[in-house]
């Protein structure tokens, strides 16, 4: 019958709407479901995945030594021209010249954090750090020199 169908329709609609309201009502009364992270305030407790790719860095040990031989493999692997390796020639004690890294230029502003350079490096001299707060006031600050001043290549790394 038409009237019965009509009333049925109305009741079914009302029921479906009330089920929807039940869900939002549940969340309204259960505040522990809130998942917001208060980012700048929770810096101290922030857990970042260790593999998170935030920036390319070159780890130095306590003697200010790194493992970069200046082979330019990372420069070639990078799809964006982010890395520029500038080499110099060290005079070794025996009088021979040896290629060594002078400046490892890293353009953070060009980097897409793809991680290909780290994969390419034969001596694992660079890695991805999980820092991510990169904003600066001057664009020049984004061009970084990764090998620290006065640093040398670690003994035995070829």
């Amino acid at each position: 019958m038409f009237l019965k169908e009509y009333i049925n329709d109305v009741l079914k609609a009302a029921k479906s709407l009330l089920t929807g309201m039940k869900v939002t009502g549940y969340y309204f009364t259960h505040r522990k479901e809130i998942i917001t992270e208060q980012y700048p305030d929770n810096r101290a407790t922030l857990q970042l995945a260790e593999r998170f790719r935030g920036e390319v860095v070159m780890p130095h040990d306590e003697n200010n030594q790194h493992a970069c031989t200046g082979c330019s493999a990372c420069e070639i692997a990078c799809p964006n021209g982010t890395i520029k390796i500038i080499n110099k020639f060290d005079i070794q004690p025996d009088g021979k010249k040896k290629k060594a890294i002078d400046t490892f230029v890293y353009h953070l502003e060009l980097c897409t954090m793809c991680g290909l350079c780290v994969e390419a490096c034969p001596t694992s001299a660079i890695k991805m750090a999980n820092t991510f707060e990169h904003s600066v006031f001057n664009r020049n600050q984004l061009t970084k020199r990764l090998n620290q001043p006065g640093s040398k290549i670690r003994e035995g790394v070829e």
């Binding site: 290909l116 994969e119 991805m128």
Partner: protein, 371 residues
């Protein structure tokens, strides 16, 4: 007949939807011709986010070009990378280790869930319900965290490399994925209560944007759009790659052909993805995660084609190699472009509100259409 309806006459209202418009989810520009509230014609204008990725790839080596493809369909970045890696492997004739194949498939399915999850929220938001969007993001966020732990990034992972994957799985990976499956299954009812069963939502979706089986095929629709009209088009079934032939799952087919059918396809597909992950997650074999490949990859002279099923449909990667280290030409067959082409056909004669309901179910990602 179509021409008659389609022509703009004096007195029609022509409005520009986009390039900046809340419903187009990106810089899509639609010129719609209205008669009152009724749509007479929709004309998509593309090109606002064209970055010539295909051209860019020609100057990148076979290792490098993969990361760029994450920027096409950024919601299924993994699957894009997967397609490229598969295509390069085809040319190199390398055998990918079993472990890597398992990892790749799990990652693909996680990506598919994340992508459908975002679509689900955005769909509800297009129809004016804001809350589901945030609920969908809760689950998506869990996936992103899992991705971040293993791949090192949340959206554009660049995890697939020719010959396997970049790193091994994170030790916690299996545990976290299982926790996610639990979380997801406990919330799935809520989704139905909040959106699927809602009478307003159903009335908005049913009978809107009707696509017949024939139309879906002739417009080249793939993915959930085609499957909503009953066209079996799942590449994972038709041409299985990696371990898809070893897992059991159903290809979700709906025969309705309207927006609601496409909606159901996606919602059910998420459950199928969960099913695939459940089958694989405990059986990941030990072994290498990457095949040994040369430092500099060179594809032999020839043409290579690989297609995969992304969250939006069929993605084809077509590489022409001249034998060098970079491709001579790359062409992507992106699912979004073909799916968008049916929009005009779908919405003629509907109201403006239906444009949103129909366009939402196409799940358009604009960078995928423009590349």
């Amino acid at each position: 007949m179509i021409e008659e309806v389609g022509t703009t006459t004096e007195g029609d209202l022509v409005i520009n939807v986009g390039p900046q418009h809340p419903a187009t989810h990106g810089v899509l520009h639609l010129v719609i011709t209205l008669n009152g509230e009724t749509i007479k014609k929709v004309e998509p204008h593309l090109g606002y986010i064209h970055r010539s990725i295909e051209k860019m790839c020609e100057s990148l080596t076979y290792r490098q070009f993969i990361y760029v493809t994450s920027r096409m369909d950024y919601l299924s970045a993994h699957i894009n990378n997967h397609a490229c890696a598969l295509c390069v492997e085809k040319g190199l004739q390398v055998e990918v280790p079993q472990r890597a194949q398992y990892i790749r498939v799990i990652m693909d399915e996680l990506t598919r869930i994340a992508s459908h999850e975002l679509w689900w929220g955005a769909m509800a938001m297009d129809l004016g319900a804001f809350t589901p969007f945030f609920h969908a993001f809760r689950e998506r966020e869990t996936i992103n965290t899992i991705m971040e732990e293993t791949c090192g990034a949340r959206l554009t992972m660049n995890y697939m490399v020719p010959g396997g994957v970049m790193f091994d799985l994170h030790p916690d990976f299996q545990k976290k994925v299982k926790a996610f499956i639990q979380q997801y299954t406990s919330k799935i009812n809520e989704y139905d209560e909040l959106v699927t069963g809602n009478i307003i939502f159903q009335n908005r979706m049913k009978g809107i944007g009707y696509v017949t089986k024939e139309d879906a095929i002739s417009y080249g629709c793939t993915g959930p759009v085609a499957r909503g009209s009953g066209v079996a088009s799942d590449i994972r079934k038709i041409a299985p790659y990696d371990v898809y032939d070893k897992v059991e799952f159903d290809e979700v087919l709906e025969t309705g052909g309207d927006s609601f059918a496409r909606y159901l396809v996606r919602v059910k597909e998420m459950q199928q993805s969960i099913r695939i992950i459940e089958q694989l997650i405990d059986n990941i074999p030990e072994g290498d995660f990457q095949a040994k490949t040369k430092a500099v990859l060179k594809l032999p002279k020839g043409e290579f084609y690989q297609r995969v099923e992304t969250a939006r449909g069929e993605l084809g990667v077509y590489i022409i190699s001249e034998g060098g280290t970079t491709p001579y030409r790359i062409k992507f067959r992106s699912p979004g472009f073909s799916n968008l082409s049916i929009l005009d056909h779908m919405v003629r004669g509907h109201k403006i509100g239906d444009l949103v309901a129909a366009m939402g179910t196409l799940d358009l990602v604009i960078p995928d259409i423009d590349r």
